[in-house]
Symmetry: C2
Subunit: 457 residues, 2 copies
């Protein structure tokens, strides 16, 4: 082929690529709107102020009075901001409560261990448990030691792998000890399960989270132990493998109770029947005040809509904020939303922010390849604030029932190196959130969903 023909075909190729990116998008017009959203959000942002209000209520575990106060706060906030169709959707939720007492120490010397009950755990008997301890790092190891494990407290001491860049993946690998620890302990005749906190922090703060039982096995109490106490206990066991630990928990599961999702929206002007859902979860664990998990997500989505409304950017399609209840220990809110509303409405896209209020980076997307490529075309707009990482795979627990029904889903991606320092612990408080980083998440969401609403999928 002559170089002349090569040049022509190259030019043609470039032109085709360019046309694909811009044929339906008025780049300059939308870039000017993107700039407006950024400047307004950074100058007049309310995300942090809202997060301070929300977290001042306290932790918001499903079924608690505080969770109900938070629901009413979100409803009132959306009404005050002038959102449309503001209402709550009743949802029945589990109701577990932490007891007044959660205590552990090494019997010899009464050396305190920093622990907390895992969410869903039964209590110990009133007198607590006193037993020897067996330390393991995997289910396989426990299986190998099952003869020695009988009648003991199973101490899971699997570290999160800090050599992994992706700490979400390190968390996933180590999470079995929290979620399955009590089941596996019961399977070998153990009396209780104590698992190393799933955290990157090295301190005396235990991290709670959901745990499960298997109905065909006995239920044993389950607690998390701080990373420092875990190391201390491990060291002590090296010197004395017969040392005994005392454990007492007074937590309990009450009957299911009534709670709610909170919903508000901006109706679309041209295709109001096409719904874009923005989700955060209004419940949190009962440690800290759920600032990153997921107060940040809640105010991200309220703030995104507030920015669009204040700038009179009326979207073509309906953009709806949903504060889901019961993400942490049941997914009842997400299921209820999908069951009730999908019957009558057309959901074209669902996005969840549940990765914390850190500097945003982009989105993870779960969608067919055509939809994914359409979304990818928005990268250039997102680049303005360095949030153009659009990658495959993403969503959120609460919107996963929508995903299963075929709705494309997205999850906000953030700079999460500190996330597991705070997650599910007393450390998750509003002072760990930076106002500007938080606001940028709301701005990113506002830009993204406004463009999707304008351009369709």
């Amino acid at each position: 082929m002559s170089s002349y023909k090569f040049v022509i075909s190259l030019l043609l190729y470039c032109f085709v690529c360019y046309s694909q990116n811009t044929d339906t998008i008025d780049v300059y017009y939308y870039q000017s709107i993107v700039n407006k959203i950024i400047n307004y959000g950074l100058q007049e942002g309310k995300a942090y102020e809202m997060l301070e209000e929300l977290t001042s209520i306290g932790p918001r575990l499903s079924g608690s009075i505080e969770s109900w106060k938070a629901i009413k706060w979100a409803e009132k906030k959306m009404l005050t901001l002038g959102f449309e169709n503001v209402h709550i959707q009743p949802v029945t939720v589990p109701h577990w409560i932490r007891g007044q007492v959660e205590e552990a120490y090494i019997v010899n010397g009464k050396e305190k261990l920093s622990i907390c009950a895992l969410g869903g755990s039964i209590a110990t008997s009133d007198g607590g448990i006193i037993a020897e301890v067996i330390e393991v790092r995997s289910i396989e190891e426990l299986q190998q030691k099952k003869e020695q494990a009988k009648g003991k407290i199973i101490f899971w001491n699997r570290h999160m792998d800090k050599s992994k860049f992706n700490q979400g993946s390190a968390y996933g690998e180590a999470a079995f000890q929290r979620t399955q620890g009590a089941i596996e302990a019961a399977r070998v005749g153990g009396l209780a399960s104590i698992s190393r906190s799933l955290t990157t922090a090295y301190d005396d703060v235990p991290h709670t989270g959901v745990m499960y039982y298997n109905d065909s096995l006995p239920k044993v109490p389950a607690a998390a132990i701080s990373t420092k106490s875990a190391d201390y206990l491990s060291q002590k066991l090296k010197n004395d493998s017969h040392l005994k630990v005392y454990l007492k928990l007074t937590c309990q599961t009450l009957p299911d109770t009534i709670s709610a999702n909170v919903i508000g929206e901006i109706r679309g002007t041209e295709k109001p029947e096409e719904i874009i859902v923005l989700g955060g979860h209004i419940d949190s664990w009962d440690k800290g005040t759920g600032a990153h998990d997921d107060g940040a997500g809640c105010v991200h989505v309220i703030e995104a809509l507030r920015i669009l409304k204040d700038l009179n950017l009326r979207p073509k399609r309906t953009i709806r904020a949903v504060m889901f209840i019961n993400e942490e220990n049941g997914l009842r809110g997400g299921n209820a939303y999908a069951e009730n509303l999908l019957k009558s409405e057309k959901h074209i896209f669902a996005l969840e922010s549940d990765a914390g209020g850190f500097t945003p980076r982009g989105f993870g997307i779960t969608a067919d390849s055509i939809t994914f490529e359409k979304i990818r075309k928005l990268e250039s707009f997102l680049k303005t604030i360095d949030v153009d990482r659009i990658s495959k795979g993403g969503g959120g627990v609460d919107i996963s029932p929508l995903g299963k029904l075929g709705v494309p889903t997205a999850g906000l991606r953030v700079d999460g190196h500190k996330y597991f320092d705070y997650h599910h612990s007393d450390n998750d408080t509003v002072d760990k959130v930076h106002p500007r980083e938080l606001e940028l998440g709301a701005i990113e969401i506002a830009i993204f969903v406004y463009l999707i609403s304008e351009l369709g999928l």
Copy 2:
């Protein structure tokens, strides 16, 4: 053109692009080294530990005893780690000291204003200054009000523009009030200059920094005022434009003194005469302990070399760490390095980390377009830890003399939304640095300079 020919030419085009990217790079080999650096750094990182050591010395303003202790710390650290050619390079530096007294209040009511002297300021007279205040936001505004300004304290109250995504640019726009405030105050017959702290934080902490005098004008004392005190004073002035402020500073400039750059390296195996410089600055301001500015940069470069050394990744070219002295108020270290060593050595690349110890993002590069494109080819390796933002324009103050002599320069880019909260203030302490985020900066530098050393420029 037939579609057949189009497809062929397209394939050819793709092949050409691909070859350009990979012809000289064994992708799989280098990716395995990159992975090794990442895993080792994250698992066995020492950056934070070193930063704790360095900052425990205290603030390290040029000429201070602490700066000398820091120089000796860096020298010993490099020797202990087995770096080669470790030595200090004497540099004469300015020696300004903050006085025991820096005080300001509104005379009526003795309401305290939170201020600190700017670096380089003269003292007030022993009795301090008592004068009326004129508030301005720009040099133009002061010029317009010059008749009123005579005999008064000039109060510069220019906010950093928070609506800007790039806070470095907002800082640049507002910095004149600190650097030029005393000159412009003297030009209109003002008695002193008080300028709003250059920060994104809203608190009672003043932020210092360098200021200049013009030898043909009188010298007047110059201070920074915290953002909260600035707003308070501004509000008070609205009610009483004749209110008087008392200001006393006892700072002074001592004779120049002797100090040093600290240098250590890993000699190249194939082209040791080709030098790659990694720079941080060992001096800091005398507020806080210079953890982000620029303790982080110092440990970034020491740690990058330590990682390469520990992994036995002997580079082809020489990689040299230089802790420059006197970045903050003189650039004497950077100038001395360039003057002395460029005569006899060939520097092929210089990189500086002086943007703080936050999560890294990539590099800004100042180089000719061919070199820039060569560097851009390393993006795929950097993507592994999300630091592949390679953009045009970047370097560092200390390596700018090298840049002027034609050496390509680079500056580490980080997630800097919090940077100006801490910068040059009591807030810049090691607890504001996250171990994992800090380590990632060192890892990024290690990967980048190792590849440049292997592949050349």
